[in-house]
Symmetry: C2
Amino acid sequence: MTRIIGPDDMEAISLGGAFLGTGGGGDPYIGKLMARAMMTDHGPVKVVAAADVPDDALCVPVCMMGAPTVMVEKLPNGDEALAALRALEAYLGRKADFLICIEAGGLNSTIPFAVAAATGLPLIDGDGMGRAFPELQMVSLTLHDISATPMVIADDKGNTGVLNAVSNQWTERLARAATVEMGGAALVALYPMSGRQMKQGLLHGTLSLIHDIGKTILTERAANRHPAAALIKMRGGFDLCTARVLDIERKTTGGFARGRARLRGMDEDSGRAFILSFQNEFLCLEDDEGQPLALTPDLICALDADGGLPVTTENLRFGLAIRLIGLPADPQWRSDGGLALAGPAYFGYPHPFQPLEDLVRARRPKDKPRNMEVTK
Amino acid sequence: MTRIIGPDDMEAISLGGAFLGTGGGGDPYIGKLMARAMMTDHGPVKVVAAADVPDDALCVPVCMMGAPTVMVEKLPNGDEALAALRALEAYLGRKADFLICIEAGGLNSTIPFAVAAATGLPLIDGDGMGRAFPELQMVSLTLHDISATPMVIADDKGNTGVLNAVSNQWTERLARAATVEMGGAALVALYPMSGRQMKQGLLHGTLSLIHDIGKTILTERAANRHPAAALIKMRGGFDLCTARVLDIERKTTGGFARGRARLRGMDEDSGRAFILSFQNEFLCLEDDEGQPLALTPDLICALDADGGLPVTTENLRFGLAIRLIGLPADPQWRSDGGLALAGPAYFGYPHPFQPLEDLVRARRPKDKPRNMEVTK
């Protein structure tokens, strides 16, 4: 099952990526422009099923690392990502055969398309998260003992570094320090892996899913419908709340955009209040009594309550009305290993992980969310 | 002119290095032990004149990077330096032919002896500073357009990084960030250069000088004489002051030990006060009216006022009596390029550079230092 993705598909890809990116992974508008420009010059990109990749192929994820708040002002020009890939190939003494998206996101699921177009390499239909996460060890590859290194990090000035670290956590620490010094955002090529490792470690089908989600958003908008209902139905999700941003605390420190927003409920959620916390991605939604409504690693996806477009953390602002949708994470993330990597405790939230479905079921009747079973 | 340096020479080398290290470059006691242990296992080290090195030889400096305050508690075990060298060789696809000391210092002029003993490689009689400086671009090699990269950085845990940077200043920024993340100290192999580049860019004869200074310290101490007078005579230096540490501010931040000490004059300097500022190295000596008495890049070398042993910044402590000696820097450091790299303005001191000789000549009669011409 090979999909051919051309410039006209990039709007859907960037929107679908931004939706699954749970606020992180960068701005879909920038991502779309980058990939489109590269495809217009070099032609479309082939997306191949993981199963069709030979076991001995060299598969390399390329992505941006850093705070999305920085990426808005410090755009990658596309050459850094290619420089990172080329430097990794030089270090390994071998050319890459396939490229990979490490995560969903407006930028991080479009940059690999730009690099794929520039190099003529196919992209694999999968990713390392099924969503976006802020730290580089937070990928299914870590759960399958695949090393993040050798890893290359490259900046806009022409600096590059090759890391070899003793663990993926150490890779994160060292690469994050370099990212901060490089100006808060950098391009990386990492987790070089064989086709065999890829088939075991990657979450399959993510690019098709991103594409389909993006097309759904576009179709619903074209029909003047808010896409929330269709997306919830498509992904077995839950409508968490519709609310307006009252107040937002945001700091770009240590290479991350961290903060929390206070939200005031609207429409059916009128009279209620929420706290939405993030570190690049939306990670924890609580009600005004501190009770969790959705917790990482489950997905908290934000859409503009009016227009229905995905909202990223860096675009969250006072007065914006958003509609939050919860999606269950891939089962790997709910395992002990997955929760140790990216559960609430890792980020310092005081709640033990509870699956979204349970949290929704436990909500007081007046708080009952409008999930599809209820509204139908 | 080849010198053979064995375990019994390391006491002199470490003391001479610590003296020229102007407070930086690490503790001579630790340095001595490391190199001795390695020489006892592997035999002595050959130190060759720069002129005897073939133009096409690969010459590589190895050293420790970080805050000396950290190095006191987080000792290198010797393997990290060798790991850094081996990783650089692997990256370059070529074995090193000669090793280099990048700077004078208790540790940084002994670590290369340890690595030379372990590898059987000869050391070149020279260094990149003729003293110690806190930042890695502050070497004569930068003045001769020799790149610090490819550079390898290695830590005690087994992490390594290879950097390629667009300037030696960028190398410093990125390697410093990695050093901080690695725990405040790391081992590096950098400035890989040809024999031809080395002959142009290196300051020649530094290891012989360090050895001779160390022997002078030992000889004078053995004769129950304070070594200051002999060292001043040997190097054309000046006695700056003898004083007791009254107060010391010290912060280990950003990978450096920064601070300043207030000193109260003793003996002939009784009734006077001084401020001694440092960033790993002693960089600025002022009197109590803020007038400069010695300024970087000229050398401010500290000896214990009683025992005559070199005092490093991390060993500076309340109540310690020290004798400060000023030595003129190598003429390259006093050039416009040298002052831009390591002059007072770079470090934020408010004084324009003035040569030590001029500052000494300008001192008020009651402040006249006891330089050799005066006391003879």
